[in-house]
Symmetry: C2
Subunit: 313 residues, 2 copies
Amino acid sequence: MRLAVLGAGDVGRSVAELAAEYGHVVTAFADSTGAVVDPDGVDVAAALDHKDEAGTVGDADPADALDADYDVLVEATPTTLGDAEPGFGHARAALAAGRHVVLANKGPVAERYDDLRALERESAGELLFEATVAGAIPALATIDGVGAERVTAARGVLNGTANFILTRMAAEGLGYEHVLSEAQDLGVAEADPTFDVEGTDAALKCAILANVIHGGGYSLADVDVQGITDIPPSALDLAAEDGRTVRLIGEVTDDGARVGPRLVPENDALAVSGTMNIVQLETEHAGRLNISGRGAGGRETATAVLADVDRLA
Amino acid sequence: MRLAVLGAGDVGRSVAELAAEYGHVVTAFADSTGAVVDPDGVDVAAALDHKDEAGTVGDADPADALDADYDVLVEATPTTLGDAEPGFGHARAALAAGRHVVLANKGPVAERYDDLRALERESAGELLFEATVAGAIPALATIDGVGAERVTAARGVLNGTANFILTRMAAEGLGYEHVLSEAQDLGVAEADPTFDVEGTDAALKCAILANVIHGGGYSLADVDVQGITDIPPSALDLAAEDGRTVRLIGEVTDDGARVGPRLVPENDALAVSGTMNIVQLETEHAGRLNISGRGAGGRETATAVLADVDRLA
């Protein structure tokens, strides 16, 4: 397949780098300030060198990437809330041109799912977005295999940064601020950790899971969200005395979607450690399925994008 | 899709019962001694009543089911070793007629994989067999999503009966024979438990995983197998003192396939409890993926069959 990759952060970069191994050709590659377009295939290594030197992958107008020859638009620009622009507009343009869209950008799927599906219905292209929920974990493919109408609930640990902090707090008896600072030093938490520790990122993934399971109707505003910034070490000590621990759990049920700290048994499937994520599905006929793995990371998330591209091929 | 279901044990029965909910029609349903065929759709409930009363689902010749109008043959007769008949012959007949084949029967895929793939190449039909490895767990769909060539190893707990016995031995400090007898009373182990406790069933699943990951070449004889019948309670006590436990682990690597008791940390993903199964995949770009769930049961395994049917649709 011919791919137009929008976004050259960790995920977009990894998609572009791995595309050839998967048998695909990158015909356009853009970041926010520049682009490189070549119908015979972009030289990805050269484009990334150009970015390291000049701050952008190429000298063409970023808008040229959307007008290039491609079969699949890979939308990997940063997640934005509300109108989810510019990601939403990119997806709309590709669908309007009858092309497929694979999203790594959570914004359009979490905030404007119904609008996206409406555009897909009018298009010859298809829309896939495995990478938007828990990185390398095939959560959406598994829901599709079970049948969304036979998934009665989903829950999971959907943010590795928050989970790393809770794991370290419990293991070392340290306070939130101390462990956050350590996580920032390790590159596990960002300088502004709000998106992760206040539950917003997990809530976006819950909105996406709720849209898939319930057939639409959810956005971030529909998810009840509580983060981990107020959890004292004493709460983790009390939980440990009872053989339990605290995890930031996202949950989708018939009652809606919510994210918040929950007590879980220490040996429970949901009690994954460090930056690991897990998605747990309750199914009508097959009991509970647990899928755990790396929920973030450029290459890991790129594998989910490329699995979607393979599904379209 | 129109389904011909061969086999009316737990899995075949559940496939027939659930088919309508999934939007399919059963046009033929056979067990070893009789069949019922109706191009407009078999009355599944009546066929199962007939089986309860007369010992067979219908009065037609079982061979009539293979000659019926159908799109997909669901092969759910008992697993046999060696030539894997009659399951292999059923699959061959369907592929020769240009029909799809979905196997729940492990024999043909574990023992004659290369023969099956050769028949598939000559056929307009496709071959799928998710249900043959770990019941409801989407192991093969996940390998397919990652790309078999990018799965560097697979391991897992692939037999619920053996895992139940090991879990109980460790939890209660009881001997193998005592726990086996308890498992038989509960219906978790069969009267002749050889297939499960000596590792044969797990080894068949390893042969199938090895065939999928390595592109063929494996049969049961290629799997190095050791069971759990010789494990003394003292070994489990020693493991527990060290924070570990014993699990019957099946493993596929570049070095081949093997099944045997292994020490695993008590809080490791592989240390699932009771009759649960887990499949762990090592991937080239996305680290480790763990998928756990119910590895047996008629309805659970039927969901894997019906997911395959949906993939063909």
